[in-house]
């Protein structure tokens, strides 16, 4: 630890530093501002996040070569940076969406917890050390436990928070055990050094695979992959909707960021084995998620299962372990974040007026709010993988990666699954567009910040789907760091 703190090291942490400052600001204004002005904390958070995003994009872009900083704790590279930007974007829009709900948007601690969690995610995706990684994961998770149970009066929300906590604590304990085994065998906590140890044959295959499984449990929980997906529907249903959206996008993206870094960095030599394992998990995840989604009557539960299914599609990309596969993972996550945030945002906006998340209550939605209906169609069709929306190109890339890696069977299962997906998304659209209720004339008001957020997201979905070249390019840059 003899090296001095130079500019590079600071720049590597610039997003986190700015986030910390922002959290401090929010805390301060939370104390100063009166109760009825606290709504503006949302503007502050969103604005602050936007500034962070822009400033980081301008000043903190990593170079071509990855650099280890802070004593090898963090790796300053495009992969981490890409994900960080994604989290900032997701958090900003979540803040905008949540602003106009009194129980949520007028509470300073909501914003602070979210910012802290975002810091955790940022660190997660750039960690190059097992210890740092574990700390970052916990920094991410603990605020999330609280946020999930934020509506104290609501039993479901409390249940969600508690469930999330229990599951999270258990799986992270298992993962920690895996970490310790790895350390024990290899004698290092540095993820990149682990690779050398494994290559050198320092670890027997069986213990190695065993510890690998233990680690995978923790990651699977984060990305809600089968069989560690049980929490997702209950938590999504109970948690405040913007939080559920945040959980299903940013938090899941963070999980994937860690997953691909960890496995590509630490286990390049045994990629065939883990490829097959991941492929099987992918199949199980998407199939189960899709089939269970069909039967749901609550839209948040349905979206929860659909997000499980999407985790399965992304895992297809992970399973290939090829540059194209990893690119497709990053690309998919970008699109998925935008799309799913939009979906949750609309669900949330509707809930504000209607206080219901039943799919049935969406009858006549498009007549009541044509604009929202259209946005919902865009988001859901993107989830279903229809052009000209982002979901199409994302799915094509993932399946292309599978075909490229000679895993045609995986691609075929994937495309068949996407048909099931289309089915239940269309069912929702049928409620939105076809059925009518007595309340046809009752409009669904949309608050200004939410409106801004939804417009950004909806246009984002179309933009990603049509002008996909720059994003693909960015994803390629990020993914190339892994090889």
């Amino acid at each position: 630890m003899s090296e001095s703190i130079d500019l590079t090291m600071t720049l590597a942490l610039l997003p986190e530093i700015l986030l910390l400052v922002l959290a401090g600001l929010v805390l301060t204004f939370d104390l100063i501002w009166s109760e009825d002005r606290k709504r503006s904390l949302g503007w502050l958070t969103a604005g602050g996040l936007a500034v962070t995003l822009v400033v980081s994009m301008i000043f903190a872009r990593p170079g071509e070569q990855a650099i280890f900083v802070w004593g090898g704790m963090l790796r300053y590279d495009w992969l981490g940076f890409t994900f960080q930007m994604l989290f900032l974007f997701g958090a900003a829009l979540t803040a905008l969406l949540a602003m106009d709900v009194k129980e949520l948007g007028s509470r300073g601690e909501f914003y602070i917890l979210m910012l802290v969690s975002t810091i955790g995610m940022s660190l997660m995706v750039s960690s190059a050390d097992l210890i740092m990684l574990y700390l970052a994961i916990e920094t991410t998770s603990i605020p999330m436990y609280v946020l999930a149970g934020f509506f104290k009066q609501d039993n479901k929300s409390t249940e969600a928070g508690f469930k999330y906590l229990l599951f999270g604590a258990m799986t992270s304990a298992i993962m920690l055990y895996g970490f310790s085994l790895l350390f024990g065998y290899a004698g290092t906590t540095d993820i990149y050094n682990l690779a050398f140890a494994i290559q050198a044959g320092a670890i027997e295959t069986i213990p190695l695979m065993g510890s690998l499984f233990l680690v995978l449990v923790g990651f699977s929980f984060k990305i809600s992959a089968v069989p560690f997906h049980f929490w997702a529907p209950d938590v999504y249903e109970g948690a405040p909707t913007p939080i559920a959206g945040f959980l299903s996008t940013a938090s899941k993206a963070a999980g994937f960021g860690v997953l691909i870094r960890f496995f590509m960095a630490a286990f390049p030599t045994i990629s065939t084995e883990w490829s097959n394992i991941i492929a099987i998990v992918a199949v199980a995840t998407m199939t189960l998620g899709n089939f269970l989604a069909i039967t749901q009557s609550n839209i948040k539960r349905m979206l929860a299962y659909s997000s499980i299914a999407h985790a399965g599609y992304i895992l297809v990309g992970v399973a290939t372990a090829t540059p194209l596969g990893m690119t497709s993972v990053v690309f998919y996550l970008i699109i998925y974040l935008v799309t799913n945030l939009a979906a949750f945002g609309i669900v949330f906006t509707f809930w504000r007026t209607e206080r219901s998340d039943e799919i049935k209550s969406y009858d006549g939605f498009s007549r009541r709010a044509p604009g929202l209906g259209l946005a919902m169609m865009v988001a859901f069709l993107s989830l279903a993988g229809m052009p000209p929306f982002g979901g199409f190109i994302a799915k094509v890339l993932v399946f292309a990666a599978a075909v490229n890696a000679d895993m045609v069977w995986l691609a075929v299962i994937g495309v068949l699954n996407s048909i099931i997906g289309l089915y239940y998304y269309l069912i929702v659209l049928k409620h939105v567009y076809l059925y009518r209720t007595d309340a046809d004339e009752k409009p669904v008001p949309v608050a200004v910040p939410a409106r801004i957020a939804l417009i950004i997201l909806t246009f984002g979905i179309v933009l990603l789907g049509v002008a996909f070249a720059p994003w693909f390019h960015w994803s390629t840059t990020a993914a190339s760091i892994l090889f």
């Binding site: 000209p388 199409f392 094509v396 292309a400 691609a411 048909i419 049928k430 567009y433 076809l434 693909f472």
Partner: protein
């Protein structure tokens, strides 16, 4: 720089659709006029494109190419040759007449036209695509609006079931074809989705034989090939008039065309290997489809199954892999498109007045709607393959092609002509000339001028192509020559 006419044709509908969405929903007249203007513009341009294609030069013309995603070799690449330029015109015609016929849609016309136009953009895009990725991109765009159009404006009894069935069938087909397309992309080692480049990829025979059925059948589902044709009649019946016109008139061609473009043209060896099998499927289409059409009592089902039968002829023509068969199939795509659009338009007009489509319950419409009667008769004659109408021009070479391929199939398939004649005559004599039930007699009135314009346009095209085939056939012929070149002069 040359005027990007193809891009304008492709994007006019979707831009018009977005514009329509901006008009307040209660200003229905403005919405309709905007829609009509856009459709007329698209029709005008596609007609211009059709007539300015230079046969002497041949090949792909009016080509535009822009890089879309360089890393993967995806580009926006469009162009027309003799094979697809009639289909572009067909789409223009169906779109224009579809808007005319839909003038009376009163429930949310704004969304109706917007979705219809998104669909139109998808269809145009597929027909002109020279890039495989782009083809899929527009293909899906053409599929999903169907769901909403059917489910919202369709026939109340069956729309939900039919719309879902249709969408899932088509989606299954396209994603399976997509896997095949991706396999081709990687196997070529060219790093491009450009179909003209892929034509020269030289895939191994084993690869072609393995992937051909996936690609071909995936698309052929949309072309209504047996045994995956089932979605089609249900979809027709449930869809509102203009959507049925689009569906049978254009969408089914989309499947056949894509099966040709991606299946046969990129995997010629696979095509040669599988064609005897495919031709057996199409014979079922042709004869069985016609037979089922004969026993239906719902007019729309009759037309729906007749489409299955006629589209079987298209697939059969392609499956012969010889000059005559393919020329016939190319013309049949156009002819059937116009004909079936005409049929569904007429059925829609009758249903709007009688509120039933059951043939036994209808009768005597010739007295009330003489113009419609003549139009339907012309369509019927086309359907029967009556010489002098476009159906004959199309079907005759198809049968010649089949003769060359396997004579007994031609003989078997020709039975469908008589069956077709019998159900068409049955409809004509019962619905139009039978005795009008008392209940209707008073409140049935003639169709509007707009409807007549639409019918006159459709019927006129059928007669012109039938009487003077040289207006279209040389174009198709030049397109077929290109395909035959890929097939190694088979």
């Amino acid at each position: 720089m040359q005027f990007p006419i193809i891009s304008v044709i492709v994007f006019i509908p979707i831009l018009a659709g977005l514009l329509i969405l901006l008009i307040p929903s209660d200003r229905k007249t403005e919405i309709r006029v905007t829609a009509l203007a856009a459709a007329a513009f698209a029709l005008g341009l596609s007609a211009w494109l059709y007539f300015s294609y230079d046969l002497g030069v041949g090949g792909y013309q009016f080509v535009e190419q822009y890089t879309w995603l360089k890393e993967l070799g995806i580009s926006y690449h469009v162009g027309v040759d003799g094979m697809n330029v009639p289909l572009v015109l067909l789409t223009g015609v169906v779109m224009f007449t579809g808007v005319l016929i839909s003038w009376g849609v009163d429930d949310r016309p704004r969304e109706f036209f917007a979705f219809l136009f998104i669909l139109a953009t998808g269809v145009f895009g597929v027909f002109v695509a020279l890039d495989m990725f782009m083809l899929f991109f527009f293909y899906e765009i053409a599929v999903f609006p169907m769901y909403l159009l059917i489910v919202i404006w369709g026939w109340k009894v069956s729309r939900e079931y039919a719309a879902m069935k249709l969408t899932l069938y088509l989606f299954i087909g396209s994603v399976i074809a997509l896997v095949g397309a991706l396999a081709m992309y990687f196997a070529s080692n060219l790093g491009t989705f450009d179909m003209i480049a892929l034509e020269g990829a030289g895939f191994s025979a084993g690869f072609q034989k393995f992937w051909f059925p996936f690609v071909f059948m995936g698309f052929a589902i949309l072309g209504g090939i047996w045994p995956f044709h089932n979605w089609s009649p249900d979809g027709h019946v449930a869809a509102p008039t203009a959507v049925s016109m689009f569906h049978a008139g254009v969408l089914m061609k989309l499947g056949a065309f894509a099966a040709l473009r991606v299946g046969i043209m990129l995997l010629p060896e696979g095509a040669k290997f599988w064609m005897p099998f495919i031709i057996l499927l199409t014979i079922v289409n042709v004869v069985y489809g016609a037979y089922i059409a004969m026993v239906q009592t719902d007019m729309k089902y009759v037309i729906g199954f007749s489409s299955v039968s006629h589209m079987g002829l298209v697939a059969m023509g392609f499956a012969t892999l010889n000059r005559e068969g393919m020329i016939g199939a190319g013309v049949q795509m156009f002819s059937h498109g116009v004909m079936t659009a005409l049929f569904f338009a007429v059925v829609g007009m009758i249903y709007d007045r009688a509120h039933t489509r059951q043939i036994p319950e209808l009768g005597g419409f010739s007295k009330k709607m003489p113009f419609v009667t003549i139009a339907f008769i012309i369509g019927g004659l086309v359907s029967m393959g009556m010489p002098g109408f476009s159906g004959f021009v199309a079907e005759f070479p198809i049968f010649m092609g089949v003769w060359k391929f396997q004579p007994w199939i031609a003989i078997l398939a020709s039975i469908s002509i008589v069956i077709t004649a019998s159900y068409i005559i049955r409809i004509i004599s019962k619905v139009f000339f039978g005795k009008m039930p008392e209940a209707y007699a008073d409140h049935i009135h003639d169709v509007t001028v707009l409807d007549k314009v639409a019918l006159a346009l459709l019927a006129g095209i059928l007669v012109i192509v039938g009487v003077y085939p040289s207006i279209m056939v040389p174009l198709v012929e030049s397109g077929v020559d290109n395909i035959l070149r890929l097939l190694g002069g088979a």
